[in-house]
């Protein structure tokens, strides 16, 4: 369904009750009556089958602005459903009973802004843990001072974990926040009667650093440091999304060489990330040799990045307007050739893994997520693509010139751990293919356009290695951040994490975690 058809349908369904207009870019903004909000979003989600991207709340001088963002409109377009309330009224109707994917978005907003969502059955104790924070702290409000640490704490002394399993002998297996090995901090509360996980409840945000809050008031270039550093294993993708948002606001076109370099670096990062992910999967199945071999390749790629860009995690390369520095075309070519060698080695390992039955036994039919649930949670990235939902922002909402490149988005239908592994392998292959094309079309030229900041807001997006990342940015006239909202892929996918572990045995948990490849830092922000 394209924009025109959508408008037509909505007019027919709710005649005269919906205000609609096209934004400058490919965005359809819909402003329904508040009473219609839930039904309209529900229809967009199920009736028009638009994936749900996320929710952005902004506090302006006198009112709340709420945006539910949908994407995937035919021909590459966005839909924003807007709702407004005076500042004094702190409630919005919840859409998550119809759009389940919005559930965590609304919970987060409730926790950070103090807004209530009428009809949402599960609010509170989300980002700010109630066993540490008292209720009523609203850190994202403008009047809240982000600089001062909060010294007075009144944690809820009677805090108890949520339990929903009612079976004789059921108990909660708490894992984390500090658990074995080199792992990020997350607390998994697994309800069980032994052996199988009946219900999984990830308690996240142990690493909440308030990126969105502390970015406010900083100059765009300094906020970029935050975008780059909040989830550094995919630093370039997030930095790119931020820069693209700023560039959209200012209406700048990035020089061609910069766009191609961005594609090259983004794919280098994806390749490195996926090799690391495969290494982690091998390690989770205790296949030590394969894990080590993959880790060798990962380190090779990290060193390659260091040689090419000066930083192993590609920090400090992109900036609003283009690139901070030019990269040598010859070095890019060399990097591509080295990547091709690494890919060849990876493919040999892939072939060997495919014939290691002990490895496959632990991946196949483990951590299954159905297509329906994937759609229902609007999951993104390799996880969604392994469950038969083949969506890739590089294809459906191309940016940075991806439309000019020839590549494929792999998809599998099984939805299990092995399907996810195959998707990751194939994506790595496609990344090298993209790097080849990018290195080939590198024309000499400027890499940075001068940027003149304007007031405004825009959405930037990238297909980060873990899936679709959305960055909403509002700048003031002097180029300072007024509102910054990140909807990272891990936040979307953690929402569906419980689907993959429930009804599987405890010993499968590390493997499922590895194949899901969720980042806590990226989620917690």
């Amino acid at each position: 369904m394209n924009h025109a058809e959508l408008e037509e349908q909505i007019r027919r369904r709710w005649p005269g009750r919906v205000n609609m207009y096209r934004d400058t870019s490919k965005t359809l903004v819909i402003e329904p009556n508040l009473s219609l909000l839930r039904d309209l979003c529900g229809w967009l989600f199920t009736g028009a089958s638009l994936p749900f991207g996320g929710t952005v709340v902004e506090e302006s001088a006198d009112e709340w602005e709420l945006r539910h963002i949908f994407y995937g409109v035919e021909g590459g377009g966005w839909v924003q459903v807007m709702a407004r309330q005076p500042l004094a009224v702190k409630t919005f109707p919840s859409i998550s009973t119809k759009v389940h994917a919005a559930s965590w978005q609304e919970r987060e907003i409730e926790d950070l802004f103090g807004l209530t969502f009428e009809g949402h059955p599960l609010l509170g104790d989300f980002v700010l843990h109630n066993d540490i924070w008292q209720e009523g702290v609203e850190p994202m409000r403008h009047q809240f001072n982000a600089k001062t640490p909060i010294s007075e704490r009144q944690p809820d002394p009677d805090w108890r974990p949520r339990r929903i399993v009612q079976a004789p002998g059921a108990f909660i297996m708490p894992i984390g926040p500090i658990f074995s090995g080199i792992a990020e901090s997350v607390n998994l509360q697994l309800e069980t009667v032994g052996e199988d996980v009946i219900c999984a409840f990830p308690r996240l945000f142990y690493e909440y650093r308030g990126i969105e809050k502390i970015a406010e008031g900083r100059a765009a270039a300094d906020a970029l440091l935050l975008a780059e550093r909040f989830a550094a294993t995919t630093a370039f993708a997030h930095a790119l999304a931020f820069c693209q948002a700023a560039e959209t606001i200012c209406g700048i076109k990035v020089p061609a060489r910069a766009s191609v370099l961005r594609v090259f670096l983004a794919e280098l990062e994806r390749f490195r990330h996926h090799v690391g992910a495969i290494s982690a999967i091998c390690e989770s199945t205790a296949l030590a040799v394969a894990a080590s071999q993959m880790a060798i390749l990962e380190e090779d790629l990290l060193r390659l990045s260091g040689v090419l860009a000066g930083h192993r995690y590609l920090f400090g390369l992109t900036t609003p307007g283009g690139m901070c520095k030019d990269l040598d075309s010859a070095v890019c070519q060399k990097t591509y050739r080295k990547c091709r060698e690494i890919l060849a080695q990876m493919e040999r390992l892939e072939e060997m893994l495919r014939f290691s039955s002990s490895f496959l036994d632990r991946l196949e039919e483990v951590g299954f997520i159905s297509r329906d649930e994937t759609l229902n949670h609007s999951l993104v990235g390799p996880i969604a693509r392994a469950s038969g939902v083949v969506r890739d922002l590089r294809k459906i909402q191309p940016y940075s010139g991806y439309e000019c490149f020839d590549f494929e988005t792999p998809g599998e239908s099984e939805g299990d751990g092995y399907a996810r592994l195959r998707v990751i392998f194939e994506e790595a292959r496609q990344s090298v293919r993209l790097m080849k094309q990018a290195a080939a079309v590198l024309e000499p030229g400027p890499v940075r356009a001068t940027i003149q900041f304007k007031a405004g807001a825009a959405l930037g997006w990238t297909e980060a290695p873990r899936g679709a990342a959305f960055h909403w940015l509002r700048l003031s006239e002097d180029g300072r951040v007024v509102r910054y909202r990140i909807i990272p892929p891990s936040f979307i996918n953690w929402h569906g994490f419980h689907l993959s572990v429930e009804n599987f045995a405890f010993q499968d948990l590390p493997i499922i975690l590895a194949t899901m490849n969720l980042s806590v830092a990226e989620n917690d922000r």
Binding site: S96, T97, H100, S103, G119, H120, P121, L122, D131, I132, P155, W159, R160, P161, R163, I164, V165, Q166, A167, P168, G169, A170, F171, I172, M173, P174, I175, G176, P177, I178, F179, S185, N187, E191, T192, V193, G194, E195, I198, C199, N376
Partner: protein
Amino acid sequence: MNPDIFLYIMAMCGIGGILALLLPQRHSPKVIAWVGSLTALFLIGGGGRALFTTSAIEKTLWTIPAVGRIVIRVDPLSGLFLVVTGVVFLAVSIFSGSILLRLLNHYNLKVYALMYLSLFAAIVWILISADVFSFLVAWEIMSILCYFLVAYEDENDENPRAAYLMLAMSEAGALAAALGMLLFAAHAGSLEFTALKHAGATGQISAAMRWMIFLLTFFGFGVKAGLVPVNLWLPRAYTAAPAAFAPLLAGATLNLGLYGILRFNGDLLPVLSSGPGLLALIIGTISALLGILYATTENDLKTMLAHSSIENAGIITVGFGAGFVFTASNKPVLAGIAFLVALYHMTNHSLYKTLLLIGSGVVDDRAGTRHLNQLGGLIRQMPVTALLFLTGVLGIAALPPFNGFVSEWLTLQTLLRSAELLSTGQKIVFALCGAGLALTAALAVTCFAKAFAMGFLGMSRSPKAEQATEPKFSALASMAILSVLCLLLGILPTYVIGGLNHAISPVSSTNEAAAALVPPFFNGSPGHEKLPAAFLSDFHDLGAQVGQHIAPGPGLVILHRGGTKNPVVFAASPTYMFIVLAALLAVLFIVVNLVFGWRRTVTRRPCWDGGIRRLLPEMTYTATGFSNPVRVIFQSVFRPTIVEDTRETVGEHFRTAIRRQDEERHILDRLLLTPGRKTAMAVARFFAGMHQGHLNAYVAYVLGALLAGLLMNYLL
């Protein structure tokens, strides 16, 4: 010795009962405690003397015209049972003195005291009666008293039902056993055991009749012993029985079933073919396996112990079965060892099971529940109880240095002696049963690790468990007696074997069994046939003669010798093991203190919880969770049916509840009882269908019957 002592003991019980009736109710527990324990002490003395007398002592009480002589007779076999009964009653009587008080205003304690002491007398009578008539009369008295005692706490509706089931099944068993005895008596022409034994020995009974009598008595007495498939009553009755009575069910009345089996099939009418022995082996193994499987997954402490009694009865029966087969295969020494080991295990089971059931009664009383999912952390509130319970747990889980280890290890070793049998088929059955028992032993460790860990360790899962306190001294004393015995039987097995060698004299044709297990390292003359010089010197170097001038008896090493090919079949010395272990621990303790200083500071930190704010009791393993892997692995046995598997949601996808509940029916109920009941109902329905109420139909039946009769007459 004079068998009258046992009559006096029975009389003391009677006097005690009358005393309880005369005194006010609040003194009834004291009467039980004092009279019961005193009587029990006498019984231990009397039984002990009987155990060590070489020949049986018989006394005719009186002669009843139509029945014959009423005889009491005490031989070493009944002597052993009397001693075990005495020990169990001693502990339980002391325990009753305190635990019964909590029933004071609910139930009539006078009646309880009377029934308790009468039961004591009845059990003594069963063990000393030497004619079928008085045996059956005593057995019936015992059965009925058990029924009343199990149903005693009748405020809970479930208890009388459980008691009724027990009565029904034990009556059916008693009928079968009685039928078997009467068939036997018909051949012997007398009801006296001496006459029966004579008839059994002279071989005037056909093989088919022997089979018949074996099956009737084996399964008849098997009801009381708790053998598959006639044990469905047992877990329910144990659970229903009052805390002061349940230990007796396991420690005393269960033994009576075993006594019946051994008396009739080992002593009076020894099994001549290997068939019955193999049957006993198989039944024993299945009982043991099913018993421990259900015990492992059970979460009510008392019910768990009940299922474990089935397991132990199974292990003992396996010993009996091996003894029967070895007897039939003309291996008297091995048969003797098998019976000896079985009786060793029986003694052990009585001790630790009584201990654990008293412990479960204490836990129930102090923490308000027996359900393991609601207990936890009791070791902090009840350290002494926990320690005593732990000794029982180590015993029943067959871990050294406690008694269960010795007898289970010996049972397994005995089964391995099937190598000496000639028939391959028999060897296969032995091997399979051995494997079954090994699995049982492994599961028993899981089961009792769970019982102790979930009950006493970790965090308290209910407020009452958190506020539990130590019981009265008398309860601790009763447990302490049994704990010490558990340890002694575990570390001094060579002396126990010597004693048990007397007990098996009625069922064994040789008295070499003990000598075959315990070589005379201490008192044998070197170079003797039993103790060749080379052998002695080898084992002298290993330390087998350590302590020969201090310790009495033949030695401290259990060692079974084979032929020239493998001179030592199996060997162990729990005594030395214990001493070495204790010494090592002591040395370790000293070394650690020397190295790190006697006054080093020890820092205690809370349990590492992964860094969450507070580890809550609901975040720790429950008993269900602990045993769930066993339930999953043996799914085909448990075959749970899902009663409820629902999820509640709001707004379509927000889950608010996941309810799961499944139900298990015991495998015997599923495979035997229910199909049996259905068949019976179908047959009944068929016959009910014939009763149509029409006159002409009945006339037709009469006519048909007449014709059939005429036809038969003509044909015959």
